[in-house]
């Protein structure tokens, strides 16, 4: 008996529910000779802005118990070079490419979305609203329902691509933000981005990261990520992409059962670049053993009592 692993996320068709997480898999190219990209549900590339961003001063990463902090600062060469130098090579693979977009103002988001909507080989946009809103004093768009709404509404106007809103966990009510972006036109939501954290070196007596604050990811955050996916899946009717600390098929199945229609794997690929593919295999094995025919049958299973 074969199991149907395919899922559809707001118009984005994937052969299985496992994606890479933005910023942790480069542009795919870095791993293409050791990971069969064609077997991924989708490949999500790094945060991309209108103009090139230089990123934060080093050190940019630090290890923490069962997790890591990063403060890359969304370094990227800008949308023009991504379109010209990175996307063409990915067209050789049979994998939907999702571009994660970032901006310091609403119009920067709009501009990069417009450029990508015109480009070949982009299957969907993931709008990373965890960026500081420069006009509003640096508070991140994603922590305010109105600003999150505004970004998604304006981006929605300029693209027909499936639109995924990527939510930040650093909020009192992630469900409220989720409802807001869905109302603004998002076809799906993905979460969680990293939890704000920091670390101090007691020898130098200074913060470890060059940027002082960084984003926590990896197994340590999994319980928080799962809870937020549970809350959001109960609050909106669009598909949810779950991520945060997923290392193996068991973790991925927890997210699916909490209500996610797909999952993304980030930090775990640093330990094992083939983790996303092992997770695909593991999900398939579980479904077969338990007699499910489609992966969609387990989505939200833990919600029904």
């Amino acid at each position: 008996m074969t199991v149907d692993l395919s899922v559809e996320i707001g118009g984005l068709k994937m052969k299985n529910p496992v994606m890479t997480a933005s910023g942790t898999f480069g542009y795919g190219r870095e791993y293409a000779h050791v990971v069969d990209l064609n077997r991924l549900g989708a490949l999500v590339v790094k945060g991309t802005s209108v103009h090139p961003w230089a990123g934060n001063p080093p050190p940019r990463v630090a290890e923490t118990p069962a997790g890591m902090l990063n403060a890359i600062g969304l370094e990227n060469p800008g949308v023009d070079r991504v379109v010209k130098e990175e996307l063409p090579a990915l067209r050789a693979f049979h994998v939907p490419v999702v571009v994660n977009i970032v901006g310091h103002t609403v119009s920067e988001y709009v501009e990069v979305a417009r450029r990508l909507d015109d480009s070949d080989g982009v299957a969907a946009l993931e709008v990373n609203i965890s960026c500081p809103n420069v006009a509003e004093g640096g508070l991140t768009f994603g922590t305010d329902p109105d600003q999150a709404f505004e970004v998604l509404r304006r981006v929605r106007e300029v693209t027909r691509l499936p639109l995924i809103a990527k939510l930040t966990p650093n909020v009192t009510s992630v469900a409220e933000i989720a409802r807001s972006v869905v109302e603004a036109g998002a076809d799906a939501v993905s979460l969680i981005n990293t939890l704000l954290g920091m670390s101090i070196d007691i020898e130098t007596r200074r913060p470890v990261l060059g940027n002082t604050l960084g984003g926590l990811s990896g197994p340590a955050v999994k319980p928080v990520a799962l809870r937020m996916v549970w809350e959001v899946a109960g609050a909106v009717s669009v598909p949810v992409i779950g991520m945060g600390g997923i290392c193996n098929a068991r973790d991925a199945l927890e997210f699916l059962m909490a209500g996610a229609s797909a999952v993304a794997v980030g930090t775990a690929t640093f330990v094992d670049p083939t983790a996303p593919l092992k997770i695909v295999d593991g999900i398939e094995k579980y479904l077969k053993e338990k007699g499910f025919r489609k992966v969609t049958e387990v989505v939200g299973l833990a919600r029904r009592s």
Binding site: E30, K46, P59, V61, I72, N248, P273
Partner: protein, 299 residues
Amino acid sequence: MSWPEPEPSWNRFEARVLKVDHPREDHCLVVLEAPLIARRGKPGQFVHVRVGGEGFPVLRRPLSVAAFHPDRGEIELFFRIVGRGTKWLAQRKANDLLDLLGPLGRGFPTGPGGPWLLVGGGIGSAPLLSLAQAAQRRRIPVVVLLGAKQQAELVLASRFGELDARVHVATDDGSMGVKGPVTSLLADQLKQNEPPAVVYACGPKPMLKKVKEMTRGQAFPCYLSLEERMACGVGACLGCSCAAETTGTARATTCTEGGTGCENLVQENKVTDLLPGPVGYVRVCVDGPVFEAGEVSLD
């Protein structure tokens, strides 16, 4: 002087531990069976080693290959035990398997001319040993300057000697060789009649900074091997950035104009090096860990 071929073909290996030796309590030498890395790796490249079990700790540890033995299919790692990961590694036993990615990074560029001057501070001598190996094979004369806090930390000195290198030693406490920093040995060497064809250095940042200053404007190139905290180790996460000496824009200009080290960065199409903006960053894992001294800012 030419950079080693870029190595797009790193892979993941299960390498068998052949020997674990503790020349000092806090130093460890691990010999691994890793035939492909032993044959294809270049001096200055590193491996990214998984430590612990079941996904914890979440980050691999970067370690230079201290010696390549292509004939026996073996490589050697030499490291100081500083934290959780190196402690775990030091507890491995013969026949354990180590999960590693490699060979990674851009090694030391080498040319036919000699002599080579190697400057190592502390555990920074590890990657230099593989250079001394290469020099011996190619019959290039090598002078090695080693610095350490005390004699006991100079455990690799005899290994350099076995490779026919001329070894000079400095210790902070004078317990072996000259008393003082290794850069004082470098000053002496640079006063000699015959200048080196090239200087290679690895060690703590302040030492590298000093070496960079001392070799600035000299006729011979100077290459530094850097360390930075890493996540992926393969160029995908931009976690291991080091500031480029000049701003991104300026470097891009230098490159089109044909500057020395930068040329190679362009050839290898490393987009992220060339960002316009207030600061340009290079990735230590794939753009390095070896850089021309002029390329990187060590402040």
